[in-house]
Homo-oligomer: 259 residues x 2
Amino acid sequence: MCETPQEVRALIRRGELVRPTSGLVPGYAQANLVMLPQDLAFDFLLFCQRNPGPCPVLEVTEAGGYEPTWTARGADLRTDLPLYRVYRNGELLCEAGDAMDYWSDGLVCFLLGCSFTFESALTRAAIRLRHIEQGKNVAMYVSSLEARPAGVFSGPVVVSMRPIQESKLVRCVQITSRFPQAHGAPLHMGDPDRIGIRDIRRPDYGDYVEIGEDEVPVFWACGVTSQAAALRSRPRLMITHAPGHMFVTDILDEDLAAF
Amino acid sequence: MCETPQEVRALIRRGELVRPTSGLVPGYAQANLVMLPQDLAFDFLLFCQRNPGPCPVLEVTEAGGYEPTWTARGADLRTDLPLYRVYRNGELLCEAGDAMDYWSDGLVCFLLGCSFTFESALTRAAIRLRHIEQGKNVAMYVSSLEARPAGVFSGPVVVSMRPIQESKLVRCVQITSRFPQAHGAPLHMGDPDRIGIRDIRRPDYGDYVEIGEDEVPVFWACGVTSQAAALRSRPRLMITHAPGHMFVTDILDEDLAAF
């Protein structure tokens, strides 16, 4: 097990660690990556500002900048994630181990907070998360809630669902409320139909997990919202992390706590 | 006394209410206004994102938009503030009762949170604020802290100072921490020299108030930071509220509370 974010990023940069980053370097925040052409940067930043639940901005580089000086000085966002996805005109072109072949000085990098931060906090408080216990991806759904549009970007809010024991619901709200930069408090607890989810057993992304008798489905705003909105606008180029293959920052989870 | 934000804005729009807005429509958040040309909008939004303490973004319009549909549907940011300041190339051109003569479709409007929100909360908790009791403007200082630059925008962090009784310091931190969108927790408490303030009796903006024997000077990040940074870049046009003459929104102060 690597001990520091710097060591993990060095391994990843050398191509020696290609795996989902969940559980790597506990205590350090991980981030979603979106790279977009400069002429879309204001609209996308505005979309994030208007939708801080699904799109909590940790850092934005200026055009041509690939070093996130705030969250990981010395890192290179073109090489330091284990797996990338490249989209042309809104269609997936390929997955790639680095972004060097597609990078240009006209790109702006956005790092958005990730639910791993609050999942660690829930786990420390002995709130069990079934998808982690079962080694599955979290279940995600396209809700009937509309994100607030900005310029060319619009779309529905995508939510993640975790079954939580009824006796832990209050604590669960308290704990996740501390981390507004990692999706924060739940968006909804209870009847999935209220937010337009017709069949909880069929997630739009990720894997379904059973909801127990004494459990309530709890829904959080999800970072996939920003990627879905960006793709709908068919940008000529967009580069993101591959699902689960996040950017490991030097920021402590606790540094993201609001109180 | 007007009862609703809508009524106050209507009076202001008709030119029948030209005064500082402190104390108007208690319970509703007020906002700083900055209007800038579209080509500076990404850099300015990025400056705010990188400096959320002094520059908490409540709403941003798209180019040519003057209705803040999120914070005050139906309002017009060109006419609904009691007094405006117009700057050309970084120099004050004039004050004006509305911004109609200077407005164009190439402008973007930014509304930033205001300390009135946390001052109301402190007052409700019986924490006395001397500048309000004495009818003065709050004392503001250019600190030695540098704001994180973004594009063409850079400059020092400007702070406001309020003397707080030592016995109330903890409560004061707790209360203002609840309002990150209104400058949030203090930046510093105690020795002014630590943040580069050589003479506490000579503020750079506003009025000095005495600090009592049992009081500690408490410093918060201040919205003037954004105006100072913007002016340093000498934008060909910038329109702001005149000091103290804020935009009254439909958002409850409590809607801005983080927890």
